[in-house]
């Protein structure tokens, strides 16, 4: 479970996240939506303990990101969007294995987990090739496997389907459904509204660091009496604060 409680993050005089409050339950997939610069990535970075909140706090399974960062890190799986951040001179297996070992996994369990993930993500054939020669989609799959290798209770995914082709995106969606079934807490940021509707139980919409909406897509449609998701999104970020 993740609880975001009145969190503000400032970089000098710039307020990136302003008094944000929401929660995600185990077994729930929450979509984090917003335009570029809305504060999504900063929020995820604070959840991942990479950045510290200026005020307020976030708890992950009851552990504070400010005071118990090591306990939080053991419970999260993190995938940053855009640049997937893999070691190009290492093979896919070495990349995944390195992170598995840093999370304290035993060699045998790690090896089995890598095989299982590579089957699920259909990346067995290039598991022992160096990442530097991979396409964007192949890299994205390796990065997803790396973020899930230690079977985290909380999964933070920033633009996870960027670069994936249609079939790979479909494989990924099935994986998310399985993880939800397994009771994982999943935060998912995306620009693709259709994907968010398919995958997420609820959405949080941010605009200029502030919360604009939290609830299900059905509630969103009902509130604004619109069916088109893109129109809905524009209406929310263009209108006044609703929560």
């Amino acid at each position: 479970m993740i609880e975001v409680n009145q969190v503000t993050k400032r970089f000098g005089s710039f307020v990136a996240v302003d008094n944000l409050t929401f929660a995600i339950q185990p077994g729930e997939v929450l979509g984090l939506l917003g335009e570029n610069g809305a504060g999504k990535t900063t929020t995820m970075r604070m959840m991942a303990t990479v950045l510290q909140p200026t005020s307020g706090d976030i708890t992950v399974d009851g552990f504070s990101v400010s005071r118990q960062s090591m306990q939080v890190r053991r419970r999260i799986g993190l995938l940053f969007g855009g640049d997937v951040g893999l070691y190009g001179r290492l093979t896919a297996r070495e990349n995944i294995s390195y992170f598995g070992m840093l999370y304290g996994m035993e060699e045998r369990a790690l090896s089995e987990r890598i095989i299982q993930l590579s089957r699920t993500l259909q990346m067995e054939e290039y598991l022992d090739r160096r990442v530097s020669g991979f396409s964007r989609g192949m890299k994205q799959k390796v990065a997803i496997a790396r973020s899930l290798v230690h079977d985290p209770a909380v999964i933070l995914l920033d633009e996870p389907t960027t670069g994936l082709d249609v079939s790979a995106a479909s494989v990924f969606r099935r994986l998310i459904a399985d993880l939800r079934q397994a009771g994982k807490t999943i935060l998912f940021s995306s620009h693709n509204m259709g994907e968010v509707e398919k995958l997420c139980d609820r959405v949080v919409i941010m605009h200029r660091g502030r919360l604009r909406f939290v609830g299900s897509i059905a509630e969103l449609k009902q509130r604004y009496r619109l069916d088109d998701l893109d129109d809905l999104f524009m209406r929310v970020v263009g209108g006044e604060h609703d929560e």
């Binding site: 303990t49 999260i76 993190l78 640049d83 290492l90 992170f99 999370y103 790396r146």
Partner: protein
């Protein structure tokens, strides 16, 4: 400190660096291949110039050529006469090596006890001409000695009458000491520069590079404490620095052992090294490597990009070169005590003492203690920067 985490990060960094061509070129290929090649090239080029200067010495004689002095000159190996109307123009054009002007009646004047006047032109900007000046000068000296001997003989004196003092110059330096003094001038310089430059590609890649590629953020989000990450990265940079310094040491020692420049009469010997001096050499290498690694990782952490880090790293090498060059001409006995307390200077001073075989325990203690202070300070600054979120996240 979690030793397993440090080992995991260090092992990954090392594998990653092993597969990086630019790191290997900087740390290994340049010291092991380029330095010996450069020395051999300079050596062979110097030898070929010298060989050419010896084998052919074209000279112009202004005056009668069939005189004993000229005959003595032409008896020198490689000398030959050139006829020309423009001797000085040919000398400037390097067509001839020297021009000697002498009177036509050298023998008559000398037999009358007079002093003859010779003029020797040469081109000091041309090495071959300078060599020809020496050859001609030596031939004239020999001829002069013959004339002096004849004149002394005529008045019933021997040449010893004008040599009241006979000096015998003897060296007290052993072959080990001579080898050490030769090594002490160039090896400490190369060691310090290799230590400073050898770790730069690794330090740049391991923080600024990782930041740029987004891998550092993923690493920070793992349950590895920043101090463990930094320790592992510090060891990796130190290892690359050490490998580079060792490669320089091996390559330079081999070059000097097989082609001892200017040491033809000396047997190459490393007898000045013993277990204590080797241990001292290694300790100082380790401390200097740690100091440079700390500074370089701090710079890499502060830099916003890989390119920016590369730019900031350049002064590190210059910073190492200044004390290295300042200490180059100094003999260990002339090194001021304060230098044993200054960073990099202290390492250079100890390297010199080791190669001269004159290690002073107090100097060694001062250098080690002061280096430890600098290393701790450099690592503390690096650790402080390494925990600043605005410097680690793009």
């Amino acid at each position: 400190m979690n030793r397993r985490q440090i080992w995991l990060v260090f092992r990954k960094e090392f594998i990653d660096l092993l597969r990086d061509r630019k790191t290997w070129i900087g740390a290994f290929v340049i010291p092991l291949v380029v330095i010996p090649l450069l020395f051999l090239l300079i050596g062979s080029s110097m030898s070929s110039v010298e060989e050419e200067a010896r084998s052919d010495i074209p000279l112009v004689v202004l005056g009668k050529a069939d005189q004993p002095l000229v005959e003595q000159l032409l008896a020198q190996p490689g000398t030959r006469l050139v006829q020309t109307d423009e001797p000085l123009a040919l000398l400037e054009q390097a067509e001839v090596r020297a021009v000697l002007e002498l009177p036509d009646d050298v023998e008559q004047k000398l037999s009358r006890g007079e002093t003859i006047k010779l003029t020797l032109w040469y081109d000091p900007s041309n090495q071959k001409s300078a060599y020809a000046r020496d050859v001609v000068g030596q031939a004239i000296d020999r001829y002069e000695q013959q004339v002096v001997a004849e004149r002394l003989n005529a008045v019933g004196l021997s040449t010893r009458a004008i040599q009241p003092i006979e000096t015998s110059v003897k060296s007290v330096a052993s072959d080990e000491r001579l080898t050490g003094s030769m090594l002490a001038s160039i090896i400490p310089l190369m060691l310090v520069i290799s230590l400073a430059s050898g770790g730069i590609p690794a330090a740049t890649d391991l923080v600024a590079g990782e930041k740029e590629r987004g891998t550092l953020e993923a690493l920070i989000a793992t349950p590895v404490a920043p101090k463990n990450m930094l320790t592992a990265k510090l060891f990796a940079v130190m290892l690359m620095s050490g490998i580079s310094a060792l490669a320089s040491l091996i390559s330079l020692s081999s070059v000097l052992a097989f082609a001892p420049f200017g040491m033809d009469q000396v047997e190459y010997s490393l007898g000045f090294l013993n277990p204590v001096t080797i241990a001292l050499l290694l300790v100082m290498l380790l401390l200097l490597a740690a100091l440079f690694a700390g500074v370089e990782l701090t710079i890499s952490t502060m830099a916003k990009s890989f390119k920016e880090a590369q730019t900031y790293m350049t002064p590190v090498v210059f910073g190492a070169m200044v004390p290295a060059y300042m200490m180059l001409p100094l003999n260990p006995a002339d090194v001021p005590l304060a230098y044993y307390l200054l960073p990099v200077f202290n390492g250079m001073a100890i390297f010199k003492e080791v190669f001269y075989g004159t290690v002073d325990a107090l100097h060694a203690l001062l250098a080690i203690a002061s280096s430890l202070v600098y290393v701790v300070a450099a690592i503390a600054v690096a650790a402080r920067f390494f925990q600043r979120e605005n410097l680690l996240v793009k």
